[in-house]
Amino acid sequence: MAEIILKTENLGISFGGLKAAEDVNLEIVKGDMYGLIGPNGAGKTTVFNLITGVYKPTFGKVFLCGKDITGESQMNVNKLGVARTFQNIRLFNNMSVIKNVMVGLANNPDYKCNIAQSIFRTPEFMRTEIAMREHAKKLLEVFGLLEERNQLAYNLPYGKQRKLEIARALATNPKLLLLDEPAAGMNPHETEELMETIKFVRKDFDMTILLIEHDMKLVSGICDKLTVLNFGHELCKGETKEVLNNPEVIKAYLGDEN
């Protein structure tokens, strides 16, 4: 039996009576490429925000590797092993590319170094700083961003900003990677390249991925399993092919024929 990385039980939240998400039951097994799809306003990002601690769930629980992480702060959720990207890219724009990644590396137990050590530049600081930089360089190299490492993140082209966001998320050494509409605003060519990147991250980093996406081509191309949300509720879930042929799902996306 494969290890269950993420499990949500009847997860939901209401904003002043409006239930943005209700009874969401996800179960993601190690190595899964899991898709969360649904029409606009279906509550997909809300589910992400509930998992990562941006919102505190009103109902239900979230388990990461069997550990209850419901209501933990965003920082702790990340430290426990969930990293995410954002629908509207959120990079540290006025920092160089490599420093963006190094921010993600800071909590790595291999790079422990307290503030006093930093201010006095002790050998420990030098060691961790060098190691962090090397680590960051390797990550950037993998994503083809090494040449741009000293540019400001703001100056990167759109596609590379997306990649940098993924690299930065991976730098925090997560067990689960959440990608929020990674292909938003991309042309077909860029989307295809992104698919390759995601596949590659999954395989080479041995990563479990949960992604939100609108682009059906991307979803059917890379996801093994899907959950479809509509109006904050689960519409259906299962293997990608079954789900995409489900008449309920087609109705939710394309509207009722009658």
Partner: protein, 408 residues
Amino acid sequence: MNGFIRYFSAVKARFKLKNYLTYFIFLAFILIFAPLGLTGSLKMSTEFMLEQIGYSIVAAISLSLVVGFLGELSLGHAGFMSIGAMVGALLQNKLYPSLSASSPFLALVIAMIVGGLAAAVFGFIIGLPALRLKGDYLAIVTLAFCQIVQTIFEQLPFFGGTLGIANAARYSSHKLFIVIFVVALISLVAINNFIKSKHGRAVMAIRDNEIAARAMGVNVSFNKIFVFVFSSFIAGIAGVLMAASKNTVAANAFTYNYSIDILVMVVLGGMGNINGSIVAATLITVLNISLNNVFTGSMAAIKNIVYALVLILIVIYTNAPGLKSFREKHGFGVYWSKFTAKIVKLFSKKELKQDPAKEKEFGADWSKVPTKVEMDAILSTDLTPDKSYVSDKPAPDGKTDGSGKGDK
């Protein structure tokens, strides 16, 4: 011993004159003026100007930490300086009789530490609302803090009320500016080291995107409070130094207007640019003093008009969106980097390459560091790209040769 050698070789490998230029200018400055001061061959007014430049620099770089790196506006920096100054002056006066008369230096050092710590305590208190408030709202809280501190100090009899405290233990004016400059250098190094560490990066990450910083596991609360504490500690020291250079210390020297003066130095120096803050603090202080000498009496207002106009024009020049393309050709930064490049060339004799991938801040080529870092242990994941995923599209990792050491 081995570790010692490795440390120094690492320091040497990452050493690049450009990064340390400010330190050397500082040192040279101290070395030139110290003998002049010690032999008493400087005029009183020159010494006073140097003192003023020195503590303005300390104040400006400490504010720069909050405004330029944390990205929060503080209008109450004078409040922290005020606490440092008043506590420091009181302590110096109390210590003076008990310590031997020949050690006002020791009294000054103790005053700096205690004054700094006292200010840091209030930095912590002001850091707390900073967790809930942002931007303009936080700015008004800091302003309010400054006003409250001033009002309360003026009412407390042992701080001399509105008259202030007479500085009984005034440290020798021939040496004071040297002490101030050494303290300024130490604070500069401490702040620079902080910024160029993972903690400094976390702080800048909060500035650039707080939500993303949280999602990357940055401890936002701790970092915000720490910056306030650190900044106010140094501001408190600046206050002690300012008090030391005056005959009396009164709370009304640290009004909200003084906060603005410091803020102006930071902004004119360029946000997040410590060297710029130092240059601006020096120029503004010198300009202020010399204009004060030119426009006296009823003409003093002309100085303020000039000051205000220069301020407005510089901010418009450096920030107006309409002037962007002009700035990229003729901005201060362009000339500054040309200037530093020339200086570096003078000393290093090496040709400067304009390599776009050149490391900007650390400058060093880290791959040449002779330490044997156990990268394999650190990198538990295998980052070698898998060729089977490289279909007809160029793979995102197309440049790697598989060995993982292919950069450079």
